[in-house]
Symmetry: C2
Subunit: 423 residues, 2 copies
């Protein structure tokens, strides 16, 4: 049965962020149940609903207590947790299970639990991909590769259920059957099964062991190829929970106009969008003629003062553009620190020595100040009420009569009553 | 039910053209039934199975006996018929039915019958397209536009059945929901229905009134977007009879390597390929930065002597490349003469004055000499047999005892017996 629903007109960005805010009306009651005027009410925001994510690859050792550089990693963790509430952890098959039958499950479980305990939801990336695939797959016939791929999905999704309930089910399907750079078992079966059956395989196996999981289709191809794939997948009756759009900008930031054009096209499918992989450089750009980013190998790729100013502006514009668009539900930055960054690129928000670049401070100002309700003290009116407007997320409301937690889940008006003995 | 079959490995080109040839063994018998030795047998090729096509737009008036320039058109017709056996006729909705309810059916029927009587199969182009769409559609709501589009398909496919049994069912679907240059009713419904339902609509309506029709999906987008679309369409259970690939090369000929790369990818779907629209220039190329070819408007775009030599080489290479590939079933050139060519481009095989460019002579040599069995006289051996190898197509075999027609339909060995009184 087709799951393609007539796409709404592309949803429009709203710089006033009405889609990100709600209003709460709190009524404080006395012991006799009557509303109490002139009472002090303090409101504290506890969390964002919006997903401000980052990869957590370089905190796996720290999370497992086996850091080779404990001080640096502790500082990195602090910077990480000060900004982010979503972590992406690596499940590249070739690294997760370099020897068949010996997956690094405990190590990743340790890391995932650490993030979870520190208030960050974790996503696993990815369950199916042709790159960094397990080399030992190549010894098998396609039917056996397919069986092993299906088994791997069920095993890992089951092993991590409750700790990781969000997965990039499959990555870069548009190019999957055409990827000939490194011979691998996944391209081999993608050529036989076709793109849509590869997507079906990933989603159906993952869902079979964790029906509550949030499953993403993820791609870097922002052309109409990805649109055509999505439409085919939906017509084939495969449910996509979230649409993942990568945005590695090693060759130059997209800017608001291009980003909004992409959002216009991909918001038409009535599926919430995750910006899953953003990189914006604070150094030289990669030349435009490089087709596969992996082809750009440089000895030394420094972060520069000019580059850092540009990066801060571009990152701020990118985050504002995404936050303004009602279809976007989260955005994940692809690496906090330049230390160990993909391709050695200066794309981190911290320098290799751990010091924050301007982009880090800019983001902290956005996420924890401009888009955050500072602790606010109010006084109830004669009807015993206070009102406040806040970003979608969780709040703690304190009065002399007690406290209550409040979740502003969607735009609109929320009414809360506080009675003596609450909280 | 999915019609996606595991794609075969891309079929490989064969410069020896084994896929285009067959061998016939003819045995001549005497009145007593015994084989006759030493008999003269003459073999004449009558036609090609391979489709060597061209648009027939500029012969519509001639075919209907209303030419404004009868001598020039008669010469054009002669040049056309000397090369081609497949004609594409225009059914752009906005021109075919400029006033709602008054389609140019009789005019197109006249033209189609003329081509048919002159041995050329006719294809109608296209039944659904966003460009040159009927402007009067814009007054209607989407549901009514869809109804009119469905009705238009059924009407025209039924009116032309038996004369036109091959249709570009739908054109340029990859870009269809994104085409905003000219406001039109088709983009409007494509955005609501999605690409795959647009394809289903075109194929199912056409097939409903002419179940024998050969229906093409046609596109200029040679990227993986078209692959993703095809896979989605097949998964959705929509049967594509032939895959149409455009190849307007106003910005430079593709060359063998690119053409073969495209053939490798699109031959994976087990669907015969038609190269539906080829243009190769004999003058200045269009600059590479032009994205939509329609944006290039020049006053005067001459054919040049150097350009004509280059065009001849490039056309020969293109035709050799396609003819060498077993997946290709036909190729259609997009305009015989520079007179009235799309965009005013010097892409014809004849100059505006009607004289042949080198490319015309080069193609004639290929199609009617190198890829054609010249009339051949043989003598039967002691077993009363002759053998000949020919390109797939129809043949007339003449002996003193009579004659017989023979169709070499596929590579292999054909046996024929000639008895007295035959023919």
């Amino acid at each position: 049965m087709s799951l393609f629903t007539p796409p709404a007109p592309g949803r429009q960005p709203d710089p006033h962020l009405a889609h990100r805010r709600a209003t709460a009306s709190v009524t404080v009651h006395g012991p006799d149940g009557a509303p109490l005027a002139d009472q002090v009410v303090t409101v504290r925001q506890r969390s964002h609903d919006f997903g401000f994510g980052c990869i957590g690859f370089d905190l796996i050792d720290h999370a497992n207590g086996v850091s080779a550089d404990p001080d640096a990693d502790a500082a990195l963790a602090e910077h990480w947790l000060a900004l982010f509430n979503r972590a992406t952890l690596p499940f590249y098959w070739g690294r997760f299970e370099p020897e068949q039958g010996l997956p690094h499950t405990q190590e990743l479980l340790g890391a995932a639990r650490w993030f979870q305990e520190h208030g960050a939801e974790v996503k696993g990336h990815p369950l199916v991909w042709h790159t960094v695939s397990a080399p030992w797959l190549l010894q098998y016939e396609p039917a056996e590769i397919e069986r092993l791929q299906r088994e791997r999905i069920r095993r890992d999704v089951a092993d991590f259920a409750g700790v990781i309930d969000t997965w990039d089910a499959i990555n870069e399907v548009v190019i999957m059957p055409l990827h000939t750079k490194v011979e691998n078992g996944i391209t081999r079966i993608a050529r036989e099964l076709g793109r849509i059956e590869m997507v079906r395989l990933a989603f159906e196996e993952a869902r079979s062991v964790n029906p509550q999981a949030t499953l993403l289709l993820n791609d870097f191809d922002m052309s109409s190829a990805y649109e055509c794939l999505i439409e085919g997948v939906l017509e084939a009756g495969i449910r996509i929970d979230r649409l993942g759009l990568q945005s590695h900008m090693h060759q130059g930031a997209w800017g608001r106009e291009r980003t909004e054009e992409i959002l216009e096209r991909f918001s038409r499918y009535n599926i919430p969008i995750h910006f899953t992989e953003t990189t914006i450089l604070s150094g030289d750009l990669m030349p435009a003629h490089i087709d596969d980013l992996n082809d750009w190998q440089v000895e030394h790729w420094p972060s520069t003062p000019d580059g850092e100013e540009r990066q801060a502006d571009e990152i701020e514009e990118h985050y504002r553009t995404l936050f303004s668009h009602p279809a976007v539900e989260s955005m994940t930055y692809w690496g906090l620190s330049d230390r160990g960054m993909w391709l050695g690129a200066p794309g981190g928000l911290l320098r290799a020595d751990g010091s924050p670049k301007p982009a880090y401070d800019r983001l902290r100002r956005l996420i924890t100040e401009e888009w955050w309700l500072a602790p606010t003290t109010l006084r109830t009116d004669t009807a015993g009420q206070v009102q406040f407007e806040g970003f979608l997320g969780t709040y703690e409301i304190l009065t002399a009569a007690g406290s209550v937690d409040l979740h502003l889940e969607r735009p609109g008006m929320y009414g809360v009553s506080l009675h003596p003995g609450d909280g």
